[in-house]
Symmetry: C2
Subunit: 214 residues, 2 copies
């Protein structure tokens, strides 16, 4: 793996998706995508995002990874725990990605732009499968699970708030601006398709950035 080592040396804070995942797995922060549990989580992220949590059955999920439905409960205690685990993986990976993107930005304006683009990539590229679940399926979690995920999410939101403050966004309190952005960005899952040659993710980022900055 001489190429990857070289890339790492050249741009240590801009890892490729593969490299970032590998690093997080080694630190024990992320489940190995090649492990049975990892494959299950990956398939769950896809199905929950596409069909929704309630409309995805454990039989669907089992079929997706090629096992029987009962075997799922060798890895997870309940269907809800799968959703919770997916969300934890999602927010962990998204946090690492966005911190990297924010750190590499020069001025405050560029930092905010990087946050917007990072979240759009998380939603629309294969970067963070299942990211939109964080918003759409939040109510499907038990209160205990919500607290668990929320604790992991705090770091992610802090990066956002810092970026919004630094960029001096109009529209009141930074927390309010962030909440409006959460809605606007997550909803893009329903209508924006990067395959449309008409509008790329950087294009979309530009437009949103223009609206939310003075």
């Amino acid at each position: 793996m001489r190429e990857s080592a070289q890339a790492l040396a050249e741009a240590p804070s801009q890892l490729s998706s593969q490299q970032l995942i590998g690093a997080l797995v080694e630190q024990g922060l992320l489940t190995d995508p090649a492990s049975p549990r990892g494959r299950l989580l990956f398939a769950a992220a896809r199905l929950f995002e596409q069909r929704g949590f309630a409309r995805t059955t454990v039989r669907d999920l089992a079929a997706e990874v090629g096992i029987l439905s009962g075997s799922i409960f060798h890895h997870f205690a309940s269907k809800e725990q799968i959703l919770c685990a997916v969300m934890k993986e999602v927010i962990t990976l998204a946090s690492a990605r966005m911190r990297s993107a924010a750190e590499n930005a020069g001025c405050p304006q560029e930092k905010l732009r990087a946050c917007i683009q990072s979240e759009l990539e998380a939603i629309h590229e294969q970067a963070v499968p299942g990211f939109s679940i964080l918003v759409t399926e939040w109510r499907s979690l038990t209160e205990e699970s919500q607290e668990e995920v929320l604790r992991l999410r705090e770091e992610y939101e802090q990066i956002w708030l810092d970026a919004i403050v630094a960029a001096k966004c109009p529209g009141g309190a930074p927390a309010l601006v962030r909440r409006l952005l959460v809605g606007a960005l997550s909803h893009t899952y329903s209508w924006f398709k990067p395959r449309n040659r008409g509008l790329s993710i950087p294009d979309l980022t530009d437009h949103i950035f223009q609206i939310f900055t003075p």
Copy 2:
């Protein structure tokens, strides 16, 4: 009802919620809320909004209006048809409300402000129960139902697009701006509680207006 007649004469385009509903019922555009079907739709709007469509059972819904679950299917062919009917009622009422609000606005800027406030009121006040379902439960509709609701929704969206164009919002195409607004506004259902003395709907409207206008 001398008072209401007087109010009608004084401000014919600013009907109260009750009056507006009454007028729409008489035109056959809305189901009478006092009828069995109307009470069922109202209860469904509340439950679908609070718990989500999939997590609401027909038994929940029947209990809410005080009948047995089987009796529901005397009024509707399927659970999905209830959701479809709710959405049609929602968009019909919301359209009438917003057209009234937009027509009463003076300048283009005020028109956009009125649209924002009207949609926020639809989401958070009792004005249009179940409005947020239009976004959150869209995927729970069959494709045929989606087309039906979409047809009704076109008028509503046209009012929005006109307002966005007239207000000269930055951020690219009006349709894009509207989509970002849909996300930002509908997501307020998850975090904004008008009971909070800290932030009222006009306050929130101001902040959003400030962000989305030049």
